[in-house]
């Protein structure tokens, strides 16, 4: 075990000292996941807000479906996206399989339900508080959506970061649609999987430590933001 600790330390040192190949992998991970989360936000936030504000038949059903999609197994998502993007699939002509775009698509499928569901919760709570006041000011239901989205911005950033956490830590889907191709689609999680299968457990763990570092940084931002939001709420009450 002592041997392992030494191996882990040297692996970590190697990474932190600036192995450019490794940093390229970290960068690609961030690029893919940030892109995926931004696209998910553009899709998921209006859906979530619409479900929070609008009343239409089937709304309850959609909310149930969305909440269920939050727990969709990544491997299944990966498989579905693979079947879509495969050359023998309907979107095969786009030649997107085994590209970062394919990984972004898979992560968007995984993250959009999370962002939509969290947005709905946040906006529904805020809408309850605002609804009479906004109507009194003559703001229509539709026009209230941007107001609510803007005023819920802190909570929504938390939702974005939650989605980012899921995206960056995900391996099952991206390894299927990305193919873990060196210099092209190899990200942190697939590298960890690869090094583990090579039996390089210390290196895999060191990479895991960096991934945890990113996760901690993300969570620190989340908690700082929600603390700020909470303080404003407390002072108000």
């Amino acid at each position: 075990m002592q041997n392992f600790a030494a191996e882990f330390n040297s692996a970590l040192a190697l990474i932190l000292e600036g192995d450019s190949e490794l940093w390229a992998i970290v960068l690609l991970s961030l690029q893919v996941s940030v892109f995926a989360v931004l696209i998910s936000a553009v899709i998921g936030m209006p859906i979530g807000a619409a479900l929070a504000v609008a009343r239409f038949p089937g709304r309850r059903m959609m909310i149930v479906l969305m909440n269920a999609l939050m727990g969709f197994p990544p491997v299944v998502v990966g498989l579905l996206v693979y079947l879509m993007l495969s050359r023998s699939g309907p979107l095969g002509i786009l030649e997107l399989l085994y590209t970062p775009t394919a990984m972004i698509i898979a992560q968007v499928v995984l993250v959009t339900p999370i962002i939509a569901a969290l947005t709905r919760q946040v906006i529904e709570m805020l809408a309850e508080e605002y609804s009479e006041q906004l109507r009194s000011l003559g703001v229509s239901r539709l026009a209230s959506v941007p107001v609510l989205l803007w005023d819920a911005r802190l909570a929504l950033i938390t939702a974005l970061l939650a989605g980012f956490g899921r995206a960056i830590a995900e391996v099952g889907a991206v390894i299927i649609v990305g193919g873990n191709i060196n210099h092209v689609t190899r990200v942190m999680t697939t590298t960890i999987a690869l090094e583990t299968s090579k039996g390089n457990l210390a290196l895999a763990l060191a990479l895991g430590a960096i991934l945890i570092g990113i996760a901690v940084a993300v969570n620190a931002i989340v908690s700082a933001l929600s603390l700020r939001a909470e303080q404003e709420g407390l002072r108000h009450a």
């Binding site: 508080e129 605002y130 009479e132 006041q133 109507r135 009194s136 000011l137 003559g138 703001v139 107001v147 005023d151 819920a152 911005r153 802190l154 404003e232 709420g233 002072r235 108000h236």
Partner: protein, 244 residues
């Protein structure tokens, strides 16, 4: 000719108004006409239907029966745009004090400089001129309610509804609010305000509406209703109110 006269007088009328829930009438107002010049204060015990009446008059709730009539025509969007309401708990947007006012002014398509001047004017009116850039959510209870009133006034309303705006405030904060309400009234804004505070009714009201169990039990000049109540319900409420 008739329209012209009623426009000038701002006549708000509830006719045969009923709001029901589970077969029970929560509000049942046969005929109430508000056309006097001074503030109208609505008094009554909890559950009397005061807030419900206010929301019907403002068009936030559609009655199950009857209608609200403004100047001879059923309440419509044109009328609603000339009304404003302040709630018991001020609902402020999660933005700066100035941005809360700007939100309303922008919707009136005012120019940038026009809005800026108007914001300064309003903040001075409410004694919040040094809080302009502060987050609205960080204001004290009294300040927040003043901002809510300023935001309502930014709409240039002909009628201002207030639903127990001072129920959670200390006497000095209450006094500031009352002054703002009286100033607005003296500028010709019709004030319709719900309160639990009989002292407040005495200080502000030109006429008083007494409610109980969803009904209007009495409506008349403040002095008459408060000093010589004409109904048993009013007498009991005022007696109890005086004790507390």
């Amino acid at each position: 000719m008739r329209d012209l006269v009623s426009d000038m007088t701002n006549c708000l009328r509830a006719r045969d108004l009923q709001v029901r829930s589970n077969g029970k009438a929560l509000l049942d107002v046969h005929d109430l006409t508000l056309d006097g010049p001074g503030p109208t204060l609505i008094l009554g015990p909890n559950g009397a239907g005061k807030s419900l009446l206010l929301r019907c008059l403002h068009g936030l709730i559609s009655p199950d029966r009857g209608q609200v009539v403004q100047d001879g025509t059923p309440l419509n969007a044109y009328h609603k745009a000339r009304q404003a309401m302040v709630f018991q708990r001020p609902v402020l947007l999660r933005r700066s004090v100035a941005a809360n006012l700007d939100f309303v002014l922008k919707r009136q398509n005012m120019s940038r400089t026009g809005r800026k001047d108007r914001i300064v004017e309003l903040l001075t009116e409410g004694g919040l001129e040094d809080k302009s850039r502060q987050s609205a959510r960080s204001l004290s209870g009294g300040e927040a309610q003043r901002l809510a009133i300023l935001r309502a006034l930014a709409l240039n309303p002909e009628t201002l509804f207030l639903d127990e705006p001072t129920s959670a405030l200390d006497p000095s904060a209450t006094q500031m609010i009352e002054r703002m309400v009286l100033r607005a009234s003296s500028r010709g804004v019709r004030i319709v305000m719900v309160t639990h505070d009989i002292g407040q009714a005495r200080r502000l009201a030109a006429d008083v509406v007494m409610m109980q169990g969803g009904h209007v039990v009495e409506h008349g000049p403040a002095k008459q209703v408060l000093d010589v109540p004409g109904s048993e319900a009013s007498r009991r409420y005022l007696a109890g109110g005086l004790v507390t």
